[in-house]
Symmetry: C2
Protein backbone atom coordinates (compact mmCIF):
# COMPACT_ATOMS: atom_id res chain seq x y z
CA UNK A 1 0.00 0.00 0.00
CA UNK A 2 2.63 2.51 1.07
CA UNK A 3 4.85 1.34 -1.74
CA UNK A 4 2.09 2.09 -4.20
CA UNK A 5 1.63 5.57 -2.81
CA UNK A 6 5.34 6.20 -3.07
CA UNK A 7 5.30 5.06 -6.66
CA UNK A 8 2.53 7.53 -7.44
CA UNK A 9 4.38 10.26 -5.56
CA UNK A 10 7.50 9.65 -7.57
CA UNK A 11 5.47 9.82 -10.76
CA UNK A 12 4.17 13.27 -9.89
CA UNK A 13 7.63 14.45 -8.95
CA UNK A 14 9.22 12.94 -12.03
CA UNK A 15 6.60 14.61 -14.18
CA UNK A 16 7.86 17.93 -12.85
CA UNK A 17 11.45 16.80 -13.23
CA UNK A 18 12.13 18.56 -16.49
CA UNK A 19 12.90 22.25 -17.01
CA UNK A 20 10.34 22.73 -19.74
CA UNK A 21 7.61 21.09 -17.73
CA UNK A 22 8.39 23.35 -14.79
CA UNK A 23 8.19 26.28 -17.20
CA UNK A 24 4.83 25.08 -18.49
CA UNK A 25 3.36 24.83 -15.00
CA UNK A 26 4.81 28.20 -14.04
CA UNK A 27 3.27 29.72 -17.13
CA UNK A 28 -0.10 28.27 -16.09
CA UNK A 29 0.07 30.13 -12.80
CA UNK A 30 -1.65 32.93 -14.67
CA UNK A 31 -4.58 30.62 -15.36
CA UNK A 32 -5.96 28.38 -18.02
CA UNK A 33 -4.24 28.64 -21.41
CA UNK A 34 -4.62 26.95 -24.74
CA UNK A 35 -1.72 25.21 -26.43
CA UNK A 36 -1.57 27.98 -29.00
CA UNK A 37 -0.81 30.45 -26.20
CA UNK A 38 1.68 28.24 -24.38
CA UNK A 39 3.64 27.42 -27.47
CA UNK A 40 4.81 30.90 -28.49
CA UNK A 41 5.33 31.86 -24.85
CA UNK A 42 7.76 29.03 -24.21
CA UNK A 43 9.11 28.66 -27.74
CA UNK A 44 8.84 24.88 -27.79
CA UNK A 45 8.31 22.82 -30.87
CA UNK A 46 4.65 21.93 -31.18
CA UNK A 47 4.85 18.15 -30.99
CA UNK A 48 7.35 18.35 -28.20
CA UNK A 49 5.10 20.66 -26.21
CA UNK A 50 2.15 18.39 -26.86
CA UNK A 51 3.99 15.45 -25.36
CA UNK A 52 5.08 17.39 -22.30
CA UNK A 53 1.48 18.43 -21.77
CA UNK A 54 0.37 14.84 -22.08
CA UNK A 55 2.94 13.78 -19.52
CA UNK A 56 1.74 16.40 -17.07
CA UNK A 57 -1.87 15.44 -17.64
CA UNK A 58 -1.14 11.74 -17.21
CA UNK A 59 0.52 12.54 -13.90
CA UNK A 60 -2.61 14.37 -12.79
CA UNK A 61 -0.89 17.73 -12.70
CA UNK A 62 -2.84 19.30 -15.55
CA UNK A 63 -6.41 19.09 -16.72
CA UNK A 64 -7.49 19.81 -20.25
CA UNK A 65 -10.64 21.01 -21.88
CA UNK A 66 -11.44 21.23 -25.53
CA UNK A 67 -13.08 24.32 -26.91
CA UNK A 68 -13.60 24.28 -30.62
CA UNK A 69 -10.28 23.57 -32.22
CA UNK A 70 -8.29 24.62 -29.20
CA UNK A 71 -7.34 22.65 -26.12
CA UNK A 72 -7.09 24.53 -22.86
CA UNK A 73 -4.83 23.34 -20.07
CA UNK A 74 -4.83 24.29 -16.43
CA UNK A 75 -3.17 23.12 -13.24
CA UNK A 76 -5.49 20.70 -11.48
CA UNK A 77 -4.52 21.43 -7.90
CA UNK A 78 -3.19 24.66 -6.40
CA UNK A 79 -0.87 22.60 -4.22
CA UNK A 80 1.22 22.03 -7.33
CA UNK A 81 2.26 25.67 -7.07
CA UNK A 82 3.08 25.23 -3.41
CA UNK A 83 5.23 22.31 -4.38
CA UNK A 84 7.12 24.43 -6.89
CA UNK A 85 7.48 27.23 -4.35
CA UNK A 86 8.92 24.79 -1.85
CA UNK A 87 11.43 23.52 -4.36
CA UNK A 88 12.42 27.11 -5.08
CA UNK A 89 13.02 27.65 -1.38
CA UNK A 90 15.10 24.51 -1.16
CA UNK A 91 17.18 25.56 -4.12
CA UNK A 92 17.81 29.03 -2.76
CA UNK A 93 18.99 27.69 0.54
CA UNK A 94 21.22 25.28 -1.30
CA UNK A 95 22.74 28.04 -3.40
CA UNK A 96 23.42 30.08 -0.27
CA UNK A 97 25.09 27.23 1.55
CA UNK A 98 27.22 26.42 -1.47
CA UNK A 99 28.30 30.01 -1.99
CA UNK A 100 29.19 30.10 1.70
CA UNK A 101 31.56 27.21 1.12
CA UNK A 102 33.05 29.06 -1.82
CA UNK A 103 33.76 32.22 0.16
CA UNK A 104 35.66 30.16 2.72
CA UNK A 105 37.86 28.89 -0.10
Amino acid sequence: MREELQRLQSEVLAALGHPNRVRIVEFLRSGERCVCEIQPALGLEQSNLSRHLKGLRDAGILESRKEGVSVYYKVSDARIFKLLDLSTGIIKREIKSRSKILTIV
Copy 2:
Protein backbone atom coordinates in the same frame (compact mmCIF):
# COMPACT_ATOMS: atom_id res chain seq x y z
CA MET B 1 18.29 33.63 -14.64
CA ARG B 2 14.79 32.32 -14.10
CA GLU B 3 15.52 29.58 -16.58
CA GLU B 4 18.49 28.53 -14.51
CA LEU B 5 16.39 28.43 -11.35
CA GLN B 6 13.82 26.30 -13.11
CA ARG B 7 16.51 23.93 -14.27
CA LEU B 8 17.72 23.53 -10.70
CA GLN B 9 14.15 23.07 -9.49
CA SER B 10 13.56 20.35 -12.03
CA GLU B 11 16.76 18.64 -10.91
CA VAL B 12 15.57 18.47 -7.32
CA LEU B 13 12.18 17.20 -8.40
CA ALA B 14 13.66 14.67 -10.81
CA ALA B 15 15.96 13.42 -8.06
CA LEU B 16 12.83 12.53 -6.08
CA GLY B 17 11.19 11.11 -9.17
CA HIS B 18 11.92 7.48 -8.44
CA PRO B 19 10.08 5.20 -6.02
CA ASN B 20 13.21 3.96 -4.30
CA ARG B 21 14.53 7.46 -3.80
CA VAL B 22 11.23 8.50 -2.25
CA ARG B 23 11.52 5.47 0.00
CA ILE B 24 15.05 6.43 0.99
CA VAL B 25 14.04 9.94 1.95
CA GLU B 26 11.00 8.67 3.83
CA PHE B 27 13.21 6.27 5.72
CA LEU B 28 15.46 9.18 6.67
CA ARG B 29 12.55 10.95 8.31
CA SER B 30 13.58 9.05 11.42
CA GLY B 31 16.95 10.77 11.31
CA GLU B 32 20.47 10.19 10.15
CA ARG B 33 21.27 6.63 9.07
CA CYS B 34 24.26 4.84 7.65
CA VAL B 35 24.12 2.93 4.40
CA CYS B 36 24.32 -0.32 6.30
CA GLU B 37 21.04 0.55 8.04
CA ILE B 38 19.27 1.81 4.93
CA GLN B 39 20.18 -1.19 2.86
CA PRO B 40 18.49 -3.96 4.84
CA ALA B 41 15.53 -1.68 5.59
CA LEU B 42 14.79 -1.08 1.94
CA GLY B 43 16.19 -4.31 0.54
CA LEU B 44 18.07 -2.66 -2.31
CA GLU B 45 21.18 -4.01 -3.88
CA GLN B 46 24.19 -2.22 -2.45
CA SER B 47 25.60 -0.61 -5.54
CA ASN B 48 22.17 0.39 -6.65
CA LEU B 49 21.46 2.03 -3.31
CA SER B 50 24.81 3.75 -3.38
CA ARG B 51 24.00 5.35 -6.71
CA HIS B 52 20.57 6.51 -5.58
CA LEU B 53 22.19 8.08 -2.53
CA LYS B 54 24.72 9.79 -4.74
CA GLY B 55 21.93 11.15 -6.94
CA LEU B 56 20.11 12.54 -3.93
CA ARG B 57 23.27 14.07 -2.57
CA ASP B 58 24.16 15.63 -5.92
CA ALA B 59 20.71 17.19 -6.01
CA GLY B 60 21.33 18.69 -2.60
CA ILE B 61 18.63 16.63 -0.95
CA LEU B 62 20.93 14.57 1.24
CA GLU B 63 24.10 15.29 3.14
CA SER B 64 26.63 12.67 4.08
CA ARG B 65 29.17 12.27 6.79
CA LYS B 66 31.80 9.66 7.18
CA GLU B 67 32.34 8.03 10.54
CA GLY B 68 34.93 5.32 10.60
CA VAL B 69 34.01 2.84 7.92
CA SER B 70 30.40 3.93 7.75
CA VAL B 71 28.80 6.74 5.81
CA TYR B 72 25.82 8.46 7.39
CA TYR B 73 23.20 10.17 5.31
CA LYS B 74 20.57 12.65 6.34
CA VAL B 75 18.08 14.95 4.66
CA SER B 76 19.63 18.38 4.28
CA ASP B 77 16.50 20.49 4.56
CA ALA B 78 13.28 19.74 6.43
CA ARG B 79 11.35 21.31 3.57
CA ILE B 80 12.08 18.15 1.61
CA PHE B 81 9.62 16.38 3.88
CA LYS B 82 7.06 19.10 3.33
CA LEU B 83 7.51 18.60 -0.36
CA LEU B 84 6.84 14.88 -0.03
CA ASP B 85 3.83 15.56 2.18
CA LEU B 86 2.45 17.93 -0.42
CA SER B 87 2.88 15.35 -3.15
CA THR B 88 1.05 12.84 -0.96
CA GLY B 89 -1.81 15.26 -0.60
CA ILE B 90 -1.93 15.84 -4.32
CA ILE B 91 -2.00 12.11 -4.98
CA LYS B 92 -4.75 11.47 -2.49
CA ARG B 93 -6.96 14.13 -4.01
CA GLU B 94 -6.23 12.67 -7.42
CA ILE B 95 -7.19 9.17 -6.30
CA LYS B 96 -10.42 10.51 -4.84
CA SER B 97 -11.39 12.37 -7.98
CA ARG B 98 -10.59 9.35 -10.11
CA SER B 99 -12.56 6.94 -7.94
CA LYS B 100 -15.43 9.41 -8.15
CA ILE B 101 -15.35 9.04 -11.90
CA LEU B 102 -15.31 5.26 -11.53
CA THR B 103 -18.36 5.19 -9.26
CA ILE B 104 -20.30 7.13 -11.87
CA VAL B 105 -19.44 4.42 -14.37
